[in-house]
């Protein structure tokens, strides 16, 4: 064999002497490179935010007035050490499901709700237990609940589903999460607008369609996207409700 030809590798024969060091070097670089990529990619992940299922609180049971926006809410009138009276709880069923069937018959009435809290900043949601254990009528007259109109706003931010945002998933926002959020919205989970700037102290607003309707399906294309949109904002307890006009959706400048 001439010296001008490099060592010739044949897979089923022993590795030529002249290639052994080279292959050791390449192998070491490859393994070290994979380890390095694993480290850099692993530590490049963004903070998913503080939302979480509060399993550490245990099951919470409170009483309040059921309202429909049309998404069901409970305005807490009789709380506990974790959930104070005046708190407004968005409601969801197990997984990506709603509690409409249980909440609609109780609209405007006093009800006891029980489940696991999801919490992110000012946003509170209760994932109800199944059946009457999760929601049942309570004897007595429902105290009147006030709401305060805050006028028309143009907000920049993102529409997402309130449950993943509140902590069911970390992260629970963004375009990579869009299909999951859409699936939640299809299941009737309350949508939430994450505003780039706080409105009356809160960056999270329950978002509905105009005039007490559900979020229009036309806006599902914009879920997870950074947009601007206009609508009426109303305060219900410690929760803001943003009733959007879908014709005003636009891109932030």
């Amino acid at each position: 064999m001439s010296d001008k030809h490099p060592p010739f590798f044949v897979g089923y024969l022993p590795i030529p002497q002249g290639l052994k060091q080279w292959l050791l070097l390449v192998s070491a670089l490859l393994v070290a490179g994979m380890a390095g990529f694993g480290l850099v990619m692993g530590i490049a992940q963004d903070d998913p935010g503080p939302g979480a299922f509060r399993f550490d609180y245990g099951r919470q049971t409170v009483t309040g007035v059921v309202e429909l926006t049309p998404y069901p809410l409970v305005r807490v009138t009789e709380g506990n050490e974790r959930i104070a009276p005046g708190t407004t709880l968005m409601l969801s069923g197990q997984g990506k499901s709603n509690v409409d069937a249980r909440a609609i018959p109780l609209e405007g009435q006093l009800a006891q709700v029980s489940g696991i809290v999801l919490q992110r900043g000012t946003l509170n949601m209760l994932q109800l237990r199944g059946g009457r254990n999760g929601m049942s009528a309570v004897e007595g007259a429902a105290p009147a609940q006030s709401s305060k109109p805050l006028g028309r706003w143009k907000l920049a931010g993102e529409i997402c589903d309130g449950k993943c945002l509140a902590g069911a998933m970390r992260p629970g926002t963004g375009l990579a999460h869009k299909a999951c959020a859409n699936l939640c919205l299809i299941g009737g989970v309350p949508p939430v607008f994450v505003s780039s700037k706080p409105v009356d102290g809160s960056e999270f607003l329950l978002v509905t369609g105009p005039d007490g309707t559900e979020l229009p399906k036309s806006l599902y294309d914009q879920v997870g996207e950074y947009i601007t949109i206009e609508g009426e904002v109303e305060r219900r307890g410690d929760l803001l409700v943003f009733s959007v006009d879908p014709t005003t959706v636009g891109e932030p400048e």
């Binding site: 064999m1 001439s2 393994v31 990619m41 692993g42 490049a44 903070d47 294309d221």
Partner: protein, 352 residues
């Protein structure tokens, strides 16, 4: 070479190759899954399912990138050829990693609803008319389907069954699959990144694949131009004194095929440059134990007949040669695969 199909024809080098690749994959996943979270200062951790999905997805991308770099690297520097030898095993590993990524995604993001999770994967996001918010999952589904097809047909049985040209064309789908992965990541997780380290690594990996393929293509084009000849009945290959025993001279023929003219024991023979296995460049191999040996996977042929030694059955076309003075010429019309041709002796003293 194969005469009887077994799941894997193991040898020491394959064990070593797989062990090294598994060590790389294992380290990547271990560090991403168990070492990195301790370094992150998040108030609350990323969901384990999302974390796992990201680890396996990122690993699959890095593995595909490495796989696609091996081919051009081996064309640019033949010392990388040993990485090519058992590349299909690394490809099969990649499929398992990619399936794990997809499973975590489907079982997390698309579960927990009233709908079937696989149906939900298809209908949850239908914003196909826009770039932002495009259902990037579709690109991932395509890439995964291709990877599964490639892994399922990676065995030599399928190459024989489908024929090498069809098999090769199917396996070129790795390039659309890689582009689909690039689109999947670009329209998905990259849209949400605040820390751009992953973005840079991702772009660097994809760019490396592109640049290496471009460099390899330029090198091959330059070599093809040097090898090319005008159409003629007989084509000059080289002077008799330019041959080296056990090695070949390669010429590009007018029909686009290449011929490898080998000198063995003072006699010249010509066979197709394309190995019957995976079109490996036989002219870049050498004679071992009186047989031309392919540099890619070690398939062997008798240079005088283009046939693999019994009991193997692979065959490549042969070509007729003649001497015109001190110049070796080849007839560009190939003989049917496996046609014996008498070697031609060259004058003594002409061999280097």
């Amino acid at each position: 070479m194969s005469v009887k199909y077994t799941p894997v024809q193991w040898n020491n080098n394959k064990w070593i190759y797989d062990a090294i690749m598994l060590a790389g994959v294992g380290l990547f996943l271990y560090i991403f899954l168990y070492a990195a979270p301790g370094i992150l200062s998040h108030e609350r951790p990323i969901n384990p399912q999302v974390h796992n999905a990201r680890a396996f997805g990122a690993c699959a991308f890095v593995m595909m990138t490495v796989i696609l770099c091996i081919g051009p690297l081996a064309r640019l520097d033949e010392r990388f050829l040993p990485l090519l030898y058992n590349r299909r095993h690394f490809g099969v590993m990649t499929v398992f990693v990619a399936i794990t990524h997809a499973s975590y995604i489907v079982d997390w993001y698309f579960a927990f609803s009233m709908s079937n999770k696989y149906e939900a994967l298809l209908f949850a996001n239908t914003s196909y008319g826009q770039l932002k918010g495009f259902p990037f999952e579709a690109f991932g589904i395509f890439a995964l389907a291709v990877l599964i097809i490639l892994a399922a047909t990676s065995h030599d049985f399928w190459m024989k069954f489908l024929s090498p040209p069809v098999w090769k064309r199917i396996h070129y789908l790795i390039y659309p699959a890689y582009l689909a992965v690039v689109a999947h990541v670009s329209l998905g997780i990259l849209q949400d990144q605040q820390n751009h380290a992953f973005t840079w690594l991702f772009a660097g990996g994809a760019l490396t694949v592109g640049v290496l393929h471009l460099l390899a293509a330029l090198k091959e084009r330059a070599r093809d131009q040097a090898l090319s000849v005008a159409g003629a009945d007989w084509i000059d290959v080289a002077g008799v004194d330019e041959f080296e025993d056990g090695f070949a001279k390669v010429r590009l023929l007018p029909d686009g095929d290449r011929v490898a003219v080998y000198l063995m024991d003072g006699k010249l023979s010509a066979i197709s440059n394309a190995c019957a296995h995976q079109n490996g460049p036989l002219g870049e191999g050498r004679v071992i134990d009186c047989l031309v040996t392919c540099p890619w996977h070690g398939f062997q042929y008798d240079v005088r007949s283009g046939r693999s030694p019994a009991p193997f059955t692979e065959m490549v076309p042969t070509y007729n040669l003649r001497l015109q003075g001190q110049t070796v010429q080849v007839d560009p019309k190939a003989n049917p695969p496996g046609t014996p041709v008498d070697p031609i002796a060259i004058p003594q003293g002409a061999v280097t």
